[in-house]
Assembly symmetry: C2
Homo-oligomer: 492 residues x 2
Amino acid sequence: MKLKIKKMDFATGRPVCMIHEKKAKEMSLHVGKRVLIKDKKRKIVSIVDTVEGIIKPDEIAVSNDIFEALNLKDNEIVEVELADKPNSINIIKKKLKGGILNKKEIEEIVRDIADNALTEIEVAFFVSAIYTKGMNLEETGNLTWAMVKSGNQMKLNGKIADKHSIGGIAGNRTTPLVVSICASKGLIIPKTSSRAITSAAGTTDVMETIAKVNFSINEIKKILKKTNACMVWGGALGLAPVDDKIIRIENIVHIDSTAQLLASILSKKISVGSKYVLIDIPYGISAKVSLNQAKKLKNKFMILGKKFNLKINAVLTNGNEPIGNGIGPVLEIKDVLKVLRRENPPKDLEEKALFLSGKLLELAEEAEKGKGYEVAKNILESGLAFKKFKEIIKAQKGKLNGFPKPKFSFTVHANRNLKLKHYDNKLLNRLARDAGCPEDKAAGIYLYKKKNDEVKKNEAIFTIYTVSKEKLIYAKRFFKKNQKEIIEIESR
Amino acid sequence: MKLKIKKMDFATGRPVCMIHEKKAKEMSLHVGKRVLIKDKKRKIVSIVDTVEGIIKPDEIAVSNDIFEALNLKDNEIVEVELADKPNSINIIKKKLKGGILNKKEIEEIVRDIADNALTEIEVAFFVSAIYTKGMNLEETGNLTWAMVKSGNQMKLNGKIADKHSIGGIAGNRTTPLVVSICASKGLIIPKTSSRAITSAAGTTDVMETIAKVNFSINEIKKILKKTNACMVWGGALGLAPVDDKIIRIENIVHIDSTAQLLASILSKKISVGSKYVLIDIPYGISAKVSLNQAKKLKNKFMILGKKFNLKINAVLTNGNEPIGNGIGPVLEIKDVLKVLRRENPPKDLEEKALFLSGKLLELAEEAEKGKGYEVAKNILESGLAFKKFKEIIKAQKGKLNGFPKPKFSFTVHANRNLKLKHYDNKLLNRLARDAGCPEDKAAGIYLYKKKNDEVKKNEAIFTIYTVSKEKLIYAKRFFKKNQKEIIEIESR
């Protein structure tokens, strides 16, 4: 069936097309079904909405995703046909029933996600299946490799290194520091990150406040030539693109499966050709994992990493408390700048960044065993790390000021003399998300006081920032409801 | 934020609204987020698409679901605000982690599904959660009751009875027969059904080929006054409306969880005020359940049914083979008519209908223990059942002829003398669905030969019918690929 594109400029976040009700009937198409839209070169699977009135029966309106993916023009003729229900739905069902998937089956699902042949609802079933039924190491390895194959790969020369945190710790923005320090020592670090899954901000969300993060692979190669490091969004590069689609769905219910976590992290590292990979696994009472789970996860990372010929190390770090003072994109980059500028830096953030930098330098044999921390500290204190950071920001077309500002705030004060005992990371992250993180860059939480700090009556403990009045109301409501769990105190 | 409705007539199968990109930015709204749309009396939660060009910044276009739910007019002013992310998402996450949900939590999820406060993706996570983690009997009972409370309830007087099959057996259209037979004996049977989940047709899909199935509660009461029975679609009545939403999502991956199955069936029976309830549980190699599972399921039905003060019986029936000759809406109603008219009726269909009718008559004390089958047989053979059926069809504004016809067909012939050993129900259902069932009423499969039949070389075994050429291609492709599993034969 040939239909004429009617340009309508609508964004739906996934491929959707509108077909005239009359035409839909002719094709025995129903709302919510799938069609294949083809031009001369490309094709994409789309979900059908039916319309009357806005378009003529021989026209089709497509969402921006489709318009861009097929590089369409207004009035262009496309071929539209009923799409086969993909067999991967049966494979998803097999996993929901607890079955073990083989290489071919996993590749089929990943390919169908890449081609948009599966709808978001179907991807949600897949995400649930691997979350509830788990995947063994072989399945996880196959998922990793299928994700790599589904996307582009970067070919780079030299000592390519990378670090990654499994996340979950509020404020924990070590990446810009570790990258700047290790790149100063000559490592090539094509750092790609995704956006936050369950926390207030991911490295991408944070870097975006200060520089561009959206580059083509060729542009990245140019940046790396200038600076030997970058910090960019992985989603735009088509490196393991399926990962981003899955993360978007996981994000909806704030879940993170172990298999997906391993595959997500490793596929990105393999796609950029990393050889030296350091994984940070924060564990603790309000972290993503307990000490025991952290040990198991480390083990899986080591086995899978070696399977893919990586020089890999995974370190367990204390994840009981938030790291740094700011939580939220802008607030976190400000902490990073304080460390780099040596201006009243949050001590815990600095220490953790030095520890991780040291470990990565040792792994890549740029520092002797046990000497990494010292080497890293010298680089930071000498100003070399800040110099490198500025180089990267410049290469990524950014600047060090002009951050968006919040519009509303709410500060929590001590109602008596007290000692601060504990912050809950999960709840701090939820609070920051209610405040608008990570989409609202200026939103978040700033902690004036941390664990073991003595606080005098009427002193400020922390401030919640938002860009809309409604979100301040949500955040305050959430804080009031969960006050005792968010922050534990002891009277003095 | 006040916006003006722009009528656009688009169907999306769920509440979606289009907001101008400029306005969306102002509200810090992103594609895929939720808004609450309110007029003076009602409110509905909707997913946001953003547009440029089609509408003005002060306008909003809403999908037909919203237009109808709020009873809107073109140019009407509505209030639009950012909707809170519902807490039920956290409850769904708890279930995904394997937690036990309490009454309040289950009610919250069901209410949010009823109010469209959860998106289809979120409902998919809920469906996966109860499918993979299961629900204990207490949770299932709470789910049942929450579903009843979410909808309307019918208040009727008299001996209200009902039958229900858990499904899965191709062609198994006993309901119109059982209803006609038992209603002839005076039972009041407000039979509501849903559409097919995993099989070729549900009773609603079948009845729709011969009569209207879409009535209001008041209309049904009038029909019952005339005929003391009806066979209508439950979805339009607002009886346990959440059930239909869940089924639509389950349908996507063709899964059916035990808890959902129990809650779905019982909530519908309770909502119409049924007192005598007969459940048919077909078991066997290609049925939904094995004998062992069937026994467990029966046990759950009995316990839950009694908890809700029903007089309930669940019978295990042989589900190894398809029942009747036709598979698909029109083909099945034709089988039913053959039984009622006593014109060359499919014997297996007739026998099963008599068995079930007998059991229901005994349960409702309209026949002595052990005499139900005989009573039912007399009613069928005397023509009373057909008379009752015609009364019902007339009351539901139907007629006994003028069925839609298929356009394409493909007949499988024996390539040698053979004996037919077995049909696989699941694969027959899939084949019929590939042929277009249940949406395409005339599509399906007609079996000329059944288990143990001797077939001569070149004799026809069955025919596949479709209404579109593409679907004939799909169905043939599926048949060729799965031939040996769909039909087992023995050379003669």
